[in-house]
């Protein structure tokens, strides 16, 4: 029951969930804002793949890269147009703004494209299977793991060894003092949104890849996953988000294989029960971060 297939499935699901959660926490760490529009960046990237894939003859890998760029750009633009003007006003204003951005982006695609799902053309590799040491698994799973490992490594190096990365970590630690060092507030916040959107776009490739379709509300489930993963792992550090994503993937797959067939429809109920246990027993999550709860003005 728990063998090679389980391992690959768990690593793949955990990788995806880790990237999802990381994108949310990047902005939260600095602005202390839970960005409810985060799922919409995933949705926008999905529609970018749909439009580029059906209207242009561009190769798949080009449309995918462009979709990621579109998501990062959307995230940046929402920061510039929606969040920046209210940032210094009040925290609640920012939270409500994130709901507004979410609803507006959803409705924009409903009006401009369609309220119904659209098929997204995907490369044949997404449907191919691969045999790894006797385990037959979708190639997509392996690609998810490789992408996550590459991105997590790259982000770790950036956050640790570039001055911008150090400044971002400092801003998450103490935003006001970071500005006293000469680090522009707008720079770190913009970069956080761009990275968040970049991660959302990358997630979108694999998320949309599972159903090969995109619809206006597709961002809701990833947003929920990000919440759950951060409850498990902790909201206050990037490591916590990644750990939470992988633990969530593991718990989800464990429930899938251990629950009897008659109970499998209640898998989400079991999952949420575990989340409640985390909230009661370890509300700060598995990884205690050093991020303070100060607000950015």
């Amino acid at each position: 029951m728990i063998g090679g297939e389980f391992l690959i499935n768990t690593l793949s699901l955990g990788s995806l969930y880790a990237l999802i959660a990381l994108g949310l926490v990047f902005v939260y760490g600095i602005l202390k804002l839970v960005n409810f529009a985060y799922g919409e960046y995933i949705m926008i990237a999905g529609y970018a793949m749909f439009m580029l894939g059906t209207l242009t003859g561009l190769p798949f890998y080009v449309t995918m890269v462009l979709a990621v760029i579109v998501a990062a750009l959307t995230s940046y633009l929402t920061e510039l147009v929606a969040f920046r003007p209210v940032r210094t006003k009040s925290f609640n204003a920012m939270l409500v703004t994130s709901f507004a951005v979410s609803v507006m982006l959803q409705n924009a695609v409903v009006i401009l494209i369609s309220p119904r799902a659209r098929a997204v053309p995907l490369p044949p590799a997404f449907n191919a299977s691969i045999n790894i040491l006797g385990v037959v698994t979708p190639l997509r799973n392996v690609l998810t793991i490789i992408t996550a490992v590459t991105l997590l490594t790259a982000l770790t190096l950036i956050m640790k060894y570039t001055v911008l990365g150090i400044a971002m970590r400092a801003a998450a630690d103490n935003f006001g003092t970071t500005r006293l060092m000469g680090v522009p507030a707008n720079l770190v916040i913009s970069v956080a949104f761009i990275i968040s959107g970049f991660l959302a776009g990358t997630v979108s490739i694999f998320w949309v890849g599972r159903s090969a379709s995109v619809e206006p509300l597709i961002g809701f489930t990833p947003l929920l996953i990000a919440f759950i993963a951060t409850v498990i792992g902790g909201m206050h550090s990037l490591v916590g988000a990644v750990v939470g994503g992988f633990v969530y993937g593991l718990l989800f797959n464990l429930l899938s294989v251990t629950l009897p067939a008659s109970m499998i429809t209640y898998r989400d109920a079991f999952m949420f029960a575990i989340v409640i246990l985390f909230l009661v027993l370890r509300p700060e999550g598995l990884v205690r971060g050093s991020y303070t709860e100060e607000r950015v003005g």
Binding site: A167, A170, D173, N174, T178, R179, M181, G182, A185, G289
Partner: protein, 243 residues
């Protein structure tokens, strides 16, 4: 070098400064004294841009900076060591210092500055890879000052550098401030420990409930005011203060 005139600042509806004026000229060590809530830290925060003043003007090297952002002000050479040290606890000592140099980074100069800072604070060299939060209080204070020095400030503002430190460390910090002064760093020092501050200051301002109550030299202060009773009675654990 720094001229603050008629500065008014408030936290929400609560006014903290009611028209503070002061001046710091190049090479001076100016002390800003007063009880808790007198507006000392508020003055420094306003000058550093961390708090936007309601009214008044702040000019630094002839430029108006009252409405500038904190990141722009530090680039002009005005650096604040905030109260409570405020180092980045999750970053290593080396990373803290690197960010200190953010405002005026120059690759060649950076290593020179680092060596100079290690000369002043040898302990930091040993702790380079440790997280700032793991340092002792005195070491954190040294790091906070070192980090500010990495920006090559023309004017260094220190907010309560001796607060919460053991007496031996307080001595060390004041020796350090004196040695910075000998290196021609202009300093604006906020202190509760008035006695020690007056020993090293060229000039002194005393704030009381958001107003400048006295401006002059330390010896003038001793002659003109019974400062112990009026300004430091029973506040902030400075029972040792006798001036």
């Amino acid at each position: 070098m720094l001229t603050v005139s008629e500065l008014r600042a408030s936290y929400g509806m609560v006014a903290a400064l009611h028209g503070v004026s002061l001046e710091v000229t190049e090479g001076e060590l100016v002390a800003l004294l007063g009880t808790n809530g007198a507006g000392k830290s508020t003055t420094l925060k306003s000058v550093a841009g961390a708090l936007r003043p309601v009214q008044g003007s702040i000019t630094f090297l002839g430029e108006e900076i009252a409405s500038s952002k904190p990141e722009a002000i530090v680039k002009k050479g005005l650096s604040l060591v905030p109260e409570g040290r405020d180092i980045f606890t999750s970053l290593t000592v080396a990373e803290n210092l690197r960010l200190g140099a953010f405002a005026s980074y120059d690759r060649a100069r950076y290593h020179e500055d680092l060596e100079e800072v290690f000369g002043l604070f040898p302990i930091l060299k040993e702790r380079l890879t440790q997280a700032g939060g793991l340092l002792s209080g005195g070491e954190q204070q040294q790091l906070a000052i070192a980090r500010a020095l990495m920006s090559r400030p023309r004017l260094l503002m220190l907010d309560e550098p001796s607060l919460g430190l053991a007496p031996a460390l307080v001595d060390q910090i004041f020796e350090l401030i004196a040695s910075l002064r000998e290196r021609n760093v202009t300093i604006l020092l906020v202190e509760q420990n008035a006695e020690r501050a007056l020993e090293i200051a060229d000039r002194v301002y005393v704030l009381k409930t958001g107003n400048v109550e006295f401006a002059g030299t330390p010896s003038q202060l001793e002659r003109e005011l019974d400062i112990t009773e009026v300004y430091f009675g029973g506040e902030g654990g400075t029972s040792e203060v006798t001036v």
